[in-house]
């Protein structure tokens, strides 16, 4: 009994290590985009990813055919969403990221939809928003991202986004 448990543990550890080796790079990139930290200095993103992966590790035996990558990504997104809830999160405005001018919610939707390629309906279900709202946030985020400094109005939009972030933090 004990021997079988140990061999199961070894197999499980090997499987999980292979999963982390394959998925950690992509997930850390996504997490770093979410937290809007520069790629070479991302303590928040690392912490988010470590906690999300630890949950995947703890429920590895009970995945029942579910994709561990999907699960970790969901955990990551929900953790980030909870952490940046108005009045709770601590987002520091860093200029090292391309997404620094966006609000946390815009970053979350943009990363899920375009970087990770999650379908609109799934993103909406994950975040508890309607699909139309997700589409609107995504469009706004793309506009803010692609035209950060063209004339007066987009610049004002950009500062508004930063201000929202400051009020949230």
């Amino acid at each position: 009994m004990r021997g079988r448990q140990t061999s199961q543990g070894v197999r499980r550890a090997r499987e999980f290590e292979a999963f982390v080796a394959g998925a950690a790079g992509r997930l850390l990139h996504a997490a770093t985009l979410l937290t809007a930290e520069p790629p070479d200095d991302n303590p928040r993103a690392r912490r988010l990813l470590t906690l999300a992966l630890a949950h995947t590790y703890a429920s590895w035996d009970r995945l029942r055919g579910e994709d561990p990558y999907d699960r970790t990504r969901r955990e990551l997104a929900l953790r980030f969403a909870r952490g940046t809830w108005p009045g709770r999160g601590r987002s520091r405005a860093s200029s090292g990221s391309v997404l620094a001018a966006l609000t946390p919610q815009e970053r979350l939707v943009l990363v899920l939809r375009l970087f990770e390629g999650v379908a609109e309906e799934q993103t909406a279900a994950l975040l508890g928003l309607s699909a139309e709202r997700v589409r609107a946030i995504c469009a706004r985020a793309m506009t803010n991202l692609l035209r950060p400094a063209r004339g007066r109005a987009p610049a004002a939009l950009g500062t508004e986004a930063v201000e929202t972030e400051v009020t949230r933090s």
Binding site: A45, L114, M142
Partner: protein, 82 residues
Amino acid sequence: MSLRGREAAVRHLLEGAPPRVPPGLYGDVVRRGGRILRRRTAARRLLWLVLLTAAVAFVVWASMARPWVQPPSDTTPPLTGW
């Protein structure tokens, strides 16, 4: 620019400069994940223990109080001098 073109441009922007995965990440994850697992196991054990204690306590109380036995009636006066 079309929606597809804009999406492609944003994707390109997002893909740039991937961060380096720190070497200690796997160890950290396994340590934390193991802690979560141990905590879950402990919580499950505690729950079973409480359940078992409650069951034993109930059995002991029931066997002493015997709530299923009809109590002797004391409203009817005993039949004497008949």
